[in-house]
Symmetry: C2
Subunit: 208 residues, 2 copies
DNA sequence: AAACTAACATACAGCCTTGTTTGTATGTTG
DNA sequence: CAACATACAAACAAGGCTGTATGTTAGTTT
C-alpha cells in the first residue's frame, strides 16, 4: 500500500479538503474523524498518519490559507509622504475581495469562527489573537503617520481610527460568514471602507 | 425527595448558573451534563427533569437574559422631529454599559459566540439572526427618518449608516468577549459611538 | 388520610469516539 | 537486491456521554 511521496502529499491534501467540507457542514465539534476519512476516501489511519489529532488537523487547515504579505504592505507605508489612507483602503478592499472569491477561505474562516475556541483549540485562537495584536499595532502606527502628515481629521486619534477600522472589518466579515452570506461583501465592504476613510480625512479647514 | 415549587425553581436556577459557569469555562461542546450537574450540586436526573437536553439548556440560558425593551425605543423615535442620533447613540451606549457591568450577560454571550452554531444549536442561532434582521430594519428606518429631517450627511445612506453601526457594535462586542476583555468596552465603545455619530451628522453646509 | 403527582436520584443500555497498535504492501536506499 | 522506511488499512481496547427508565420520597389534592 506504500504510496510514492507525491501520492502521499495528494492524500494529505484530500484529507484537508475533506476536513474543510465536513467540518464546515457538520461543525468541528460534531463531526467525527471517521466522517472526514469517509469524505476523503481513506480510513482514519491515514488521517492519524498525517495529523496528530483533530486540533492539529484544524490548525493545518488554518495554515493552508495564504496570508497577505504584511511586510510588503509595511514597505509601501514607509515612504515619507506615503498615501496612508489610499494604501489601507486598498488593502482592506483587497482582503474583502479575496474573501469574497476564495471559497476555501470562506469555509475555513467560518469553521474557525464557529469552533469552540476553549479547550483543544485554544492554541489556534491564541495565534489568531497574536496576529490581531500585530495588525492593530501596525494599523495604529500607520494612522499615526497620517496624523503626522496632517491628513487625519482632528476628530480621530490614531488609536480610535485603527480600532474603528478593525471593528468594522471584523463585524463585516463575521456577519457575512456566520449569517449565510446574505449580501455582497465585496461591494458593500468596499462602499463602507470608502465612507469610513472619507470620514478619517481632514474635513474642517485645518486651523493652521 | 419531592421539593416544594419554590425549591424546585431554586434548583432550576442553580442549574442555569452552573451551566453558565461550566459552559463558559470548558466550552459547550466539551462539557458534559455530568459536569454541570456536579457544579450545581445535583445529579443529571435533575437537569433532565428541568431541561429537555443540552440545546434546551443553552436556549434557556439565552432566554434568561433580559433584553432591552425595543418597543419603548421605537416609541421614542416616533415623534415627528425626534432626535434620532441622540436616541440611537444613547441606546448603543446603554447596551455597552449593560454588557460591561453584567457578568452573566458577558458569560452567556461568550458561550453563544463560541458555541458551534451548526447542528443542535442551529435553532438558537436562527433566533439570533431573526432578531438581528429586525434590529437592522428598525435601524434603517430610524436613519431614514433622520435623512428625512435633513440630519444625515449626504455621504451616507440610511442603509450604509445602519450597517456601519451594526458592524462596529458587533465587532466591538465580539472582540471584547472573545479576546479576553482586554480593554474598557464601556469607555472605548462610548468614544467610538460618539465619533461615529458625529460623522453621520451633516457636516457640509447643506446645498439648500 | 389516601391517592396522586412533582421533583428529583439511581441504574441501565448502548452507541459513538478516540487513540493506539498491529499488519502489510509498496517505495526507497545503499 | 536486501534491508528498511513509509503510507496507509484494519483491528482493538477503553471510556465517556447521552437519553431513558425506573425507583423513591415528600408535597398536594380531595
Amino acid at each position: 500500500m506504500r504510496r510514492t511521496k507525491a501520492e502521499a502529499k495528494e492524500t494529505r491534501q484530500q484529507i484537508l479538503l475533506a476536513a474543510e467540507k465536513v467540518f464546515y457542514e457538520k461543525g468541528v465539534a460534531h463531526a467525527s474523524m471517521e466522517d472526514v476519512a469517509r469524505a476523503a476516501g481513506v480510513t482514519r489511519g491515514a488521517i492519524y498518519w498525517h495529523f496528530a489529532n483533530r486540533a492539529d488537523l484544524v490548525l493545518e487547515l488554518y495554515n493552508s490559507l495564504p496570508m497577505p504579505q504584511e511586510d510588503l504592505i509595511a514597505r509601501e507605508l514607509e515612504a515619507e509622504n506615503a498615501d496612508v489612507f489610499g494604501v489601507l483602503e486598498r488593502v482592506g478592499r483587497e482582503w474583502l475581495e479575496l474573501l469574497a472569491t476564495d471559497e476555501h477561505r470562506q469555509r475555513i474562516l467560518s469553521i474557525l469562527l464557529r469552533c469552540d475556541t476553549s479547550g483543544e483549540f485554544a492554541a489556534i485562537s491564541e495565534r489568531q489573537n497574536d496576529l490581531d495584536d500585530e495588525h492593530m499595532q501596525a494599523l495604529e502606527a500607520a494612522f499615526a503617520k497620517a496624523e503626522g502628515q496632517g491628513k487625519l481629521d482632528r476628530a480621530w486619534t490614531p488609536r480610535s481610527a485603527a480600532s474603528m477600522l478593525r471593528w468594522v472589518i471584523k463585524g463585516l466579515c463575521s456577519e457575512w460568514l456566520l449569517f449565510g452570506r446574505r449580501f455582497d461583501i465585496a461591494s458593500e465592504g468596499k462602499d463602507a471602507l470608502h465612507r469610513l476613510f472619507a470620514t478619517y480625512a481632514s474635513h474642517a479647514p485645518s486651523a493652521r
